[in-house]
């Protein structure tokens, strides 16, 4: 342990771990679980984990952009409940196409409310989105009247809506494809376009960004639209996978999403992070939960281990960056 600290102090391993800490942790976990359970590394299981992580993953992509721009979005969980309830409910009433369209418009409007309050009014994002978390929950209850909604069982196997959650292309499940395609598009936009650079600038140093002519309010507004868009896509996947929904289906998912983003190494302070990191974070979280389940751990062990892993990952990240395990400031 001392050697480890020494080496970090001397900066020898610093660069390597700082850049790849999360990958190393990921590989170590995969090996450990692979030894523990012979099913863990089977193709079926890998596919199953990535598929069930895809929905959290899609939401995490949007939240990553929000976090890079220096804000938070805690409303994604209830927004997911809202979107799923709506798209499933409207599916039989107006058909899958219009249902998706109407739902996306409504979800984007919710995102616009977030974006307006945080971008243009400049309220604190934690407070605004925490408020939206319960407000949207209320909206969902009003919309559904408390009832569970389902796609009519007789059309579940024939509607083209099933493609998003249950379809596959070349043997790969559709949620996985949607997740990766969206990750590539958003990852490209954020890493290689002027828009992406503006998002980083706003998160890294808002004052400097504004002085360089970036319209901070518009950038922040747009990040919440992206986040809402991703939630809409996740709602389509979830609705199609389950062919039904309930008011609290997304409850608590905002924390899983945020945990994935942080686990990947995107800083909560804004200005740094990447989509690739988030994808890794999503997969780590998915594999931890699945691995513990396959090894037969009870659920409370999963909660504790998930917490420990997040703390370790974030600690490793911080320690590598400052070259010390503990804070140098008293």
């Amino acid at each position: 342990m001392t050697g480890f600290v020494e080496r970090i102090r001397q900066g020898e391993a610093k660069g390597l771990i700082a850049r790849n800490g999360i990958f190393i942790a990921f590989i170590a976990f995969m090996i450990a679980f692979g030894i523990g359970s012979d099913k863990f590394l089977s193709f079926n299981n890998l596919e199953s984990v990535v598929r069930s992580s895809a929905m959290i993953g899609v939401m995490a992509l949007g939240v990553t952009i929000v976090v890079i721009s220096g804000n938070l979005d805690l409303s994604v969980g209830s927004m997911l409940s809202f979107g799923t309830v709506m798209v499933v409910d409207l599916h039989d009433k107006i058909g899958p196409g219009p249902a998706i369209l109407v739902m996306m418009v409504c979800v984007l409007l919710l995102g616009a409310v977030n974006g307006f309050l945080i971008g243009f009014v400049r309220l604190n994002s934690l407070i605004v989105t925490l408020g939206m978390l319960s407000a949207i929950q209320g909206l969902t209850l009003i919309y559904s009247g408390g009832k569970n909604v389902d796609v009519n069982p007789s059309t579940q196997d024939t509607t083209w809506f099933r493609v998003f959650g249950r379809g596959e292309v070349a043997g790969i499940d559709m949620p996985i494809i949607i997740f990766f395609v969206l990750a590539i598009i958003i990852g490209f936009v954020i890493a290689f376009t002027p828009y992406g650079r503006r998002v980083y600038a706003v998160g890294g140093n808002p004052t400097a960004a504004v002085f360089s002519g970036i319209r901070r309010n518009r950038v922040v507004f747009s990040t919440y639209l992206i986040s809402a868009f991703c939630v809409g896509i996740a709602a389509i996947i979830l609705g199609s996978r389950v062919m039904g929904s309930q008011n609290n289906v997304g409850q608590g998912y905002e924390l899983l999403v945020l945990a994935s983003v942080i686990l990947g190494g995107t800083s909560l302070l804004g200005g740094s992070g990447s989509i690739l990191k988030t994808v890794i974070g999503v997969l780590i979280l998915g594999f931890i939960q699945n691995g513990l389940l396959l090894l037969g751990y009870p659920y409370f062990a999963q909660w504790i281990v998930t917490w420990v892993v997040i703390i370790l990952a974030v600690w490793l990240d911080v320690a590598a960056k400052r070259g010390r395990l503990l804070s140098p400031i008293a």
Binding site: S52, V242, N248
Partner: protein, 321 residues
Amino acid sequence: MKIAYKSLIAGTTALAGMAFAGTAMAQEPMTIGITQNNVGVDSYQTTYEKAFIEAADADPSVETVVLDAGGDVARQIAQIQDLVQQQVDAIIIWPTNGKAVVPAVRAADKAGIPVVITNSNIAEEGFDFIKSFSGPDNITQGSRSAEIMCDKFKDMGIENEAQIVQISGQPGYTTAIERAKGFEDRLPEVCPNVTLLETQPGDWNREKSQRVMEAFLVKYDDIDGVYAGDDNMGVGALNAAKAAGRDGIIFVGATNFAVGYEAMARGEYWGSIYQSPVDDAKNALATAKAVVNGEDVPFLNYFDTPKITQDNMDQFTKPVF
């Protein structure tokens, strides 16, 4: 702010006034107040409230004050205090939290107002202050599910080698704990050779349950039965099995939902426990009435929740939730 506060008082007073007027006018109908957990949060509670109001309207000897705590313990305690102030003849409480409401229940009891708990019981330390609990017997529900599962295995002739998994409700919820306990205790009695491979929580959430089942299907090559803490989760598990192409699994749930009923009609889902929110509401009202009239009421006044399977489902109407 001040205006709002005043109108709130005016509203409460008017409500109390109405309650008193009601008592005075007719040939002394009793006033029963109810504070519910969270109407609108799910279809069960929504239907319960509707049925309760209908049953009370149909009964000329009863006036009701129907309140809803919106899932908020503090609001529920305030509502109980309000009902005590109004001096209703009995209070029915659907606890938002089994422990937190106990002091308010105690205060109502001290004020001489009988309290009936509905649907899910309060913590044991409050038992001295209530007259009766009206609701489903979750332990019996769990054991009946075990019997349904076992009977089906016997029909299929696999009662000596069948392997099952359990998807339970949200950890910490009495309903979840009791159903699991009833099931786990009864199964070895009726089918000693059936193996319960593993239990994981599905949190009353269909999507979560579907994910848990996907993992089970990867982990275990041979699963003959699934017991889910309610049909909503059961259908999630069924989704997972269908997607994985694993046929022939026997699904048994509890609290028959419309989706479960429909899946049974399609022959994909074997059985469940029929728990009607209408019966639940009627039983609560009847219990409270009996208490006010001084009749003998069992302390645990359960309403019957029968077994429903593909074989007898035509005797039941499709659940509305």
